[in-house]
């Protein structure tokens, strides 16, 4: 096993600072939040104070059918926050709780780790990396007012952070050294990664280090302007694009409304799959969640998934402001049910860790630890929808597959095998039984899911998945945390991580929720001041800013929208 040497300097001063900010002996003294009469306590957990990051006791409780978190900082007082918008769903989803395999090769060894202060990953972290983010630049061609991810010129301490290809290789080696399951999936992110001219070389380097799945997180603008890039990235090894897409109107999606259709077209020509990523904000774009799915349906040949991200509220906000914008996973699911008039209903969704019994079954028959999605149930949810072309409707997979029954059954078979029954006999039984979970009378025409499952599970034949993908969409949700709803039980199970040049592997919701401990510190240490970067590159930071060429061109064409935008959005909103 490769031993990864973490840069000690990054960890030690960091830990000292935590001691100053969060004296551990004081943690037990933080007041237990008092309950109220109309509330039903559910459980306790730990969180942080949104003002000073002090670790606090937090109460999770139900009120009026919703789940809230309350915590009291001895200095900054009480914070109450909506945690999960539906109590019933909370109970249903938490039943799929499943702790992961832990890290047998932790990069940070701490005797008395206290989340979230020793991330890297530390000895106590429970999930291996599901998706590793590598920031290749913090420059961006947009300047969205709400974004904290890109370097803002003029701000004191603004640094351009662009790890070298050699540093990136080292980071990927740290990922591949994870045990028992080496990380195998990387997301290249930024800033805007396509601003790096050496991006194809970076992609190739990541692939050469043994990573199978490389996803490119982008606003799509560069690809819209230079469609040939889609082919270049695909040939270099990108598996799919992860593209921001906040709505189907220019008002809800100011970021790339005019450009996204061109980027999608470029991907279609290059055969590069696209995942649409809407950040959902209450009162801003939550009324368009189903329209976004319809847009994906229109492009189902190339759009593989829509991954909704209920907004994470960063920066200081009053309770009133938070209530105005806060939306949680069950709320988005409910909006989709309402706007689709039940086409995709709340019962069609499952929490991410509900996949674990499938992993346990495969582990029981292979006797080997497998890749597992063991995040906290409140972090993410998903479902598959299949396009019934005859009826032009999206049919959630749950309408013709007894998913709950299948999960229970596989769980029991894994128990049987682990209890000593012959695994080949059990596999035979599963092969015979698996089709019974599919209701053929409700299965969309042209689909034979029972056969597909059999071929994948037992013959390891994945050829029919391609056809399934061409007609299906994965709908996912991930609610990134913020300082108000931060829950250490969620964080400890996080499997979306960042790779950093000091060879740490840091959970997303530590890296971005407490940037002063993680993101900012790392980017300062490994970045260069903006002025120096400009001198070195003989270029101004603002030279690469996008100046709305496609929007201007569309408006000049006179229709209020260019043809492609019109075509792709027609029938969705009536007005692009």
């Amino acid at each position: 096993m490769t031993a990864i040497q973490v840069d000690k300097e990054s960890v030690e001063p960091h830990e000292k600072q935590i001691w100053l900010l969060v004296p551990r002996s004081k943690e037990a003294d933080s007041e237990s939040p008092a309950g109220h009469q109309d509330e039903r306590p559910i459980k306790m957990t730990q969180s942080i104070c949104p003002e000073c990051n002090r670790i606090l006791k937090a109460q999770i409780f139900e009120r009026g059918g919703k789940v809230y978190m309350r915590k009291v900082c001895p200095v900054h007082g009480e914070t109450e926050e909506l945690y999960y918008g539906d109590y019933d769903m909370y109970l249903k989803f938490s039943a799929y709780w499943d702790d992961g395999k832990k890290q047998e090769a932790p990069n940070v060894k701490m005797d008395s780790c206290q989340c979230p202060s020793n991330c890297g990953l530390c000895t106590n972290h429970l999930s291996h990396t599901g998706l590793a983010n590598i920031i290749v630049t913090n420059r961006c061609d947009l300047t969205c007012w709400y974004c904290f991810f890109y370097v803002k010129k003029g701000l004191e301490g603004a640094y351009v952070y662009e790890p070298t290809i050699e540093q990136i290789r080292e980071m990927v080696r740290a990922l591949r050294a994870e045990r028992p399951v080496p990380g195998n999936s990387v997301q290249i992110t930024g800033g805007e990664p396509t601003l790096r001219d050496d991006l194809p070389e970076i992609i190739r380097a990541i692939k050469e280090e043994g990573v199978d799945h490389v996803q490119l997180n982008t606003n799509g603008i560069n690809i819209a302007l230079h469609p040939e890039l889609a082919k270049i990235y695909r040939e270099a090894g990108v598996s799919n694009l992860y593209m921001s897409f906040d709505g189907v109107t220019a008002r809800t999606n100011p970021k790339n409304h005019w450009e996204a259709p061109y980027a999608i077209e470029a991907c279609r020509k290059a055969g590069l799959g696209v995942v649409l990523v809407p950040t959902v904000i209450k009162g801003i774009n939550d009324h368009e969640v189903y329209e976004i799915i319809k847009f994906a349906k229109q492009n189902i040949d190339i759009v593989r998934a829509v991954n909704f991200q209920p907004v994470s509220l960063t920066g200081r906000m009053t309770k009133k402001e938070r209530e105005k914008y806060r939306i949680t996973i069950p709320d988005v699911i409910k909006r989709i049910e309402d706007f689709s008039q039940g086409e995709i209903a709340s019962d069609d969704w499952f929490p991410v860790p509900s996949c674990s019994p499938i992993t346990h079954f495969i582990e029981a028959i292979t006797n080997r630890k497998q890749y597992e999605l063991s995040i906290h149930f409140a972090c993410g949810a998903g479902t598959y929808v299949y396009l019934d072309r005859e009826k032009d409707r999206l049919v959630p997979i749950t309408r013709f597959v007894d998913i709950k029954g299948l999960i229970e059954y596989l769980d029991e078979v894994a128990d049987d095998i682990n209890s000593g029954t012959n695994k080949y006999v059990e596999m035979g039984k599963v092969a015979l039984k698996i089709g019974s979970f599919v209701d053929k009378s409700k299965e969309p025409a042209g689909l034979d899911l029972g056969r597909l499952l059999f071929e994948v599970l037992f013959k390891h034949d994945y050829s029919s998945i391609g056809k399934f993908q061409m007609n299906s969409l994965f709908l996912g949700m991930m609610h990134f945390q913020d300082k108000y709803n931060h829950d250490e039980e969620r964080l400890q199970r996080c499997d979306i991580h960042y790779l950093t040049p000091d060879l740490r592997i840091i959970p997303f919701c530590s890296f971005n929720v407490i940037p002063e401990w993680y993101r900012d510190r790392i980017q300062k240490k490994y970045g260069v001041p903006v002025e120096e970067w400009e001198r070195q590159h003989n270029e101004k930071l603002e030279d690469r800013l996008y100046r709305g060429q496609l929007r201007k061109q569309a408006i000049k064409e006179g229709s209020g929208a260019s043809c492609l935008v019109n075509e792709m959005l027609s029938g969705i909103t009536g007005q692009p």
């Binding site: 037990a28 459980k43 306790m44 730990q46 709780w97 395999k101 682990n418 039980e489 400890q492």
Partner: protein
């Protein structure tokens, strides 16, 4: 590893909730079952911590409850219900549990309906999974006018874990009498 012998002494009883009914009515029973107390006592926080460390984190008990009417020769099945109760062992960050029990591995329950049950005490958690209480209702015509002797059997299937071998516990109740009256 806990000896399997302790599993031999499971207990069950059936409680008639309506000992008497008219021929057009219904009769309800509660069937109670418990793993042997010695087994329940032997499951401690150390047991579950050791299990957790070896990735043994889902403890499932499948209960099959059969209600029957005693006849001269055979016992006629009136109702049979199968359900699963689960424990999922997880690493808790709950300060109250950490402080009270000095333990960080804790069970989360999953009930027959597939909904989570959170526990504040370890005894409650054990009671949840190692005992069952099932309501069963039959219509009076199924029993017929006169006295009926009603009994139940409960089977509890447990799979292999780090602390116990796989096995099925079985317990039968003493039959109880109910009267169905001609109206």
């Amino acid at each position: 590893m806990i000896s399997r012998n302790v599993l031999n002494r499971a207990t069950a009883r059936v409680v008639p909730l309506t000992p008497q009914a008219g021929i057009n009515g219904t009769v309800s029973f509660r069937v109670e079952f418990s793993f042997p107390q010695s087994f329940i006592d032997s499951i401690t926080l150390d047991t579950i911590r050791a299990a957790y460390k070896q990735y043994d984190r889902r403890i499932r008990v499948r209960y099959t409850v059969r209600l029957y009417k005693e006849g001269a020769i055979i016992k006629r099945t009136l109702r049979e219900i199968t359900f699963v109760k689960k424990w999922i062992l997880y690493w808790t960050r709950a300060p109250d549990i950490l402080e009270k029990y000095k333990a960080y591995i804790w069970p989360l329950g999953v009930d027959e309906e597939g909904r989570a049950v959170f526990f504040n005490s370890f005894d409650d958690a054990k009671k949840f999974i190692f005992t069952s209480s099932t309501m069963m209702t039959v219509t009076a015509p199924e029993l017929g006018v006169g006295e009926s002797r009603i009994g139940a059997t409960v089977k509890a299937r447990l799979w292999r874990h780090t602390f116990i071998e796989a096995g099925t516990l079985e317990a039968s109740t003493e039959p109880v009498s109910v009267q169905i009256l001609q109206e």
